[in-house]
Subunit: 739 residues, 2 copies
Amino acid sequence: MRKESRLLRTIGQALVVTALFFLGFIIGWFAKNTNQPSADKDASNKYLREFLVEFQPDQIRDHLRKFTQLPHLAGSEQNLKYAEQIQSEWQEFGLDSVEMVPYDVLLSYPNKSQPNYISIVDRLGSEVFNTSLAEPVPQGYEDVSDIVPPYSAYSAKGQPEGDLVYVNYGRTEDFFQLQREMGINVTGKIVIVRYGRIFRGNKVKNAMSAGAKGIIMFSDPADYWAAGVQPYPDGWNLPGGGAQRGNVLSLNGAGDPLTPGYPAKEYTFRLDTEDGIGLPSIPVHPIGFHDAVPLLQNMGGPIPPNNWKGGLNVSYRIGPGFTEEFRTQKVRMNIHTNNQVTRIYNVIGRIRGALEPDRYVILGGHRDAWVFGGIDPMSGAAVVHETVRSAGKLLSKGWNPQRSVIFASWDAEEFGLLGSTEWAEDNAKVLQERAVAYINADSAIEGMYTLRVDCTPSLHTVVYDLTKQIASPEEGEEGLSLYESWHKRDNWTDDRDAPRISKLGSGSDFEAYFIRLGIAAGRARYTKNKKTERYSSYPVYHSVYETFEIVEKFYDPTFRRLQAVAQVRGGLIFLLADSQVLPLSASQYAVSLKKYAQSIAQLAQKHPQEMERFGVSFDFLFSAVENFTLAATDFHKRLETINTADPLQVRVMNDQLMYLERAFIDPLGLPGRPFYRHVIFAPSSHNKYAGESFPGIYDALFDIENSSDPQESWKEVKRQISIAAFTVNAAAMTLTPPA
Amino acid sequence: MRKESRLLRTIGQALVVTALFFLGFIIGWFAKNTNQPSADKDASNKYLREFLVEFQPDQIRDHLRKFTQLPHLAGSEQNLKYAEQIQSEWQEFGLDSVEMVPYDVLLSYPNKSQPNYISIVDRLGSEVFNTSLAEPVPQGYEDVSDIVPPYSAYSAKGQPEGDLVYVNYGRTEDFFQLQREMGINVTGKIVIVRYGRIFRGNKVKNAMSAGAKGIIMFSDPADYWAAGVQPYPDGWNLPGGGAQRGNVLSLNGAGDPLTPGYPAKEYTFRLDTEDGIGLPSIPVHPIGFHDAVPLLQNMGGPIPPNNWKGGLNVSYRIGPGFTEEFRTQKVRMNIHTNNQVTRIYNVIGRIRGALEPDRYVILGGHRDAWVFGGIDPMSGAAVVHETVRSAGKLLSKGWNPQRSVIFASWDAEEFGLLGSTEWAEDNAKVLQERAVAYINADSAIEGMYTLRVDCTPSLHTVVYDLTKQIASPEEGEEGLSLYESWHKRDNWTDDRDAPRISKLGSGSDFEAYFIRLGIAAGRARYTKNKKTERYSSYPVYHSVYETFEIVEKFYDPTFRRLQAVAQVRGGLIFLLADSQVLPLSASQYAVSLKKYAQSIAQLAQKHPQEMERFGVSFDFLFSAVENFTLAATDFHKRLETINTADPLQVRVMNDQLMYLERAFIDPLGLPGRPFYRHVIFAPSSHNKYAGESFPGIYDALFDIENSSDPQESWKEVKRQISIAAFTVNAAAMTLTPPA
């Protein structure tokens, strides 16, 4: 028995020892950090909630007030001061690094000693009417100096004199109608067009192509006046003395006109100004509707079609020139604007990613403003500022995002997206390899109705998911999510029950990131009701009346709309930077591609005989879209089965998601536009603002209307369909399992 | 005492238990698989040794014999048969997948019913001399059909008749000398030039630019005859009846002339043939030196400079036309070669990487041959075949490379690198993101002297490391490494004591991967003694005499030279695919960049006054190289400190190494050559074979000599220096710590 009991005890001890060994083993196994995702995911969710509640309306109000006190045109002393202030505050907020990044780009300013204006001159050359030299300054800003008067940046200098021709919005189709239906030639004439519908640079280019020697653009009440609203300061409408500043370049994504393709640094080779990209060769000038009346009211020539008539009490006759009675009067433009190479400053702040420092999520928006920038861009810049502040708070609580975050305050956006484009050129190689997404932060509000989101299809899902976690900012909608509020106001279509998300066009700083480099991109802002409010953008756009007060009094008195926009922009950055699996959807891209292919094929079907005659078919494009759809479905199925504890497995699939947008880039660019390289999304050649899907095919079809050689034109349509099919197929390949 | 002893025992037990717990913990900690590198590294080294000894001379001999039995021109039935055979054998060897990838590209063949030849015709139009229609067929191959006679692929059709002008090698400088110093205009003449020094396509382009209406190229004994060697079959010299086939395109990397930038697939839009890229507009024909004598011997005109004289017993007079006595005789070319869109086939085999399936290491070489391809390309294809066989053996022993390996048998290389370029275009997006390196496998031997390596600087270190592990194949060098054998035969320079490694030019299938896509690339082969053997390439190049026997009898009777080349090519693939940290050196790139910058600055210094006058400086380029050097040094220091047990840390730095070559790509391409996009390496515009460093600057400086507007030309030099400085700076940025 003694022996037995000792044996038993030994066995018992051995069991205990073994158990302890296993306990140790198991604890050792789990103690080892292998980036366990489940715990991190919970932590990340908790941080997201804390991040969203950190955004404060009062803080946003303070930021906006602070940065709209003084005019801060690109290249001005004041804009550098704001940059320095932003740099130092971002540092205080707790970013890992904040740097100032200068470039020397071509800007354009009025000549201070020789103001720009337009005259009506009589037969003796005396000026019988002159347009105003400045806008009436709003109350409270009377002592402010350095308010730049309305002008068209990069206008050619000159004093052309001649007869006016009115050409509606100055669109390609307006000039066609003028020339073909009305038989009016504008060679040697000065054209006058109303603002709206298309980017002003396209109007200028069209006028140049038609042979005009000058172009005047005016804000017509039909396009810049909301019914039942008072002009500023009693409401948010544009006063008759207000006018829209803006650049009139045709850059097509080139950035600084003198250094296309390369950053404008100290040592960079510069083109001579006469060879600069997209500079107009004729004088250009903008006026308000008060000044437009004297120019338009005595015009002769044919009565215009009804859709050429604006909201002024004039006949909108086409010209050329004035009626018989005033025949001897001519119009003279006096333009003395100068181009000059000027230093600009981007502010770049960074948070270094904890696990993947080489993956970048970017939030960027511009800082330069035509005058105070109350809406454009400081409503957006205030939101970025608040995002940085909130992110800093989170960092101080121990948040450590998986990927790196970059915050950018761009300069000289108003001069052709220069700051953002030069930085993209400077960092192109690194961005191509490492950028996950770019979220744009221009004006955060342009209306009082609902949310507006324009983004690449792969972001659709995360935008919906996120907006369900944000509260509606509208009074009376307590308890409703932003998603619900948005959904009820702007449902997509009959066949898609979800809030509408639109395509990205151009006209803001995402351009180089999205259209040139192929980085997934999106933007969000508060907007008007498009169905009932037909004016272009918002009435005081680019005027001196864009003040802090117009936001505080009219657009967002509680600053809760800006808060909601901040939560959307910031929340997207958070989710893109800190989700273990990137919240990008290849399947949503597939859904959109199918829709776009159908719609471009339908557009071509306007010409059934020619389609037949020249053997034009969209079959290969549809089959490519089908390939893409299958690849996307498979991809997301596989994504559900990966071992998320294996960081390489996750990285391999995240890289496929990240590079999906890159796959739509054609290094050869769109025809004649080497810096527009996205085969799925780019502005049409006829309007920089409008994002077209399959822009290569779209432009080729557009040109059919105007072609003297239909065979060549249809060949180009076929070539573009082939490029689109190849690109979609190649993008599908990037989603299949590697090797 | 009793109590005390129990206490002691309890303490003792507790200590044992605690110790066991810790033992368990520690074992648990280490038992967990976190891709421990040290064990893997040993395993990988063991596999490398097994891989290298697996390469068998006899196997290589067998592969070579098997694939050189019959002519296998691109687009022929036989070349498809070899493709199918390769596919099935690679499958048997054990690759994970092997697929056949077809493209439909523009090829060019002689018209079988109307042979090409050149005549001397008398005043009555009678042919008094005709060049031969074919080469004398070598012994043993008399019954072989489908030997394509010597021709210039893509020659224009036509029967131009006129006077001959002899223009030496047909280089840019030869035409300058002809026109400026000798005052001879070739407009409307037929030029005759000797092969050698530059790519034949450049000769044709120069002749076209000078206005010639036809061009004849001949192999002069001065350039294709080794002293003291018998003509084939008694030696390896070119018989007088042999001639050099070859394409005469000026593609500049475009691939298929009808589908530049896109893969030539079923649905791809094709240019009309008359708009095809790089097609010559004049007839072109190659002849051997027997046929050259009757054309040259009666030529009149000036006596040529001595360096224009070849090795034939003729005067090499320049012309135009014959001497007085034969003045009425003219030369007529009869060229009936046809272009036609033809299906070609690449064979693509893959091994899926175990840890990083999305990282690709590529070994590719062509299969199509002008006739038998005994040297070009099958000496290389046999090496690839043996590499696949050895890799298969390794796989069967349990080897599982970290990254994916791709093996390619390209088609239609001889027609302008078409198979490899179309596949690069087809897979561009995926390759840009995932390709680590491309090793080229064209002809493995062109001489009997030593190893020749051309590669990107980042591969220098691994080439040296590897060749130290390979034995010299030379008799009497038992115990010497390949490195030592190579080193003693071809030391770099006085200031660098290491075997010479050269820059990559073009002329083989690495082009699209290296110069267009920016993938690190290299090639290796056995070569002649350049100091003593002055003939171009090797004498029988592109003739019917490139048989299996010429290799077996003369070039490599033991097949140990081919074995050594196989070990170099295969060993590089192994190390690139299976080293935990990529064996790429940024520091070696820095060393080379410095040398290149010095050498291009020195070239410019030929024009000190103009440099001064136009303010041309290389300072920013030198400063960029300095930035790059510092960044590279820092990078490699950091690389030594990373935690190699953390797969993400390793991947982040490997990605920086992989993308380093990509950083030298300018998406805008070199001037006028959109598919040559590498700012550091590309062929000069004047000779496709020669790789130049800083080719943009080089070409701009070359054009200075020939410029009618020096100010504009120097502006272009400055622009190119600025682009080079930017690119080197941007590449330096990719090496700094991310974010």
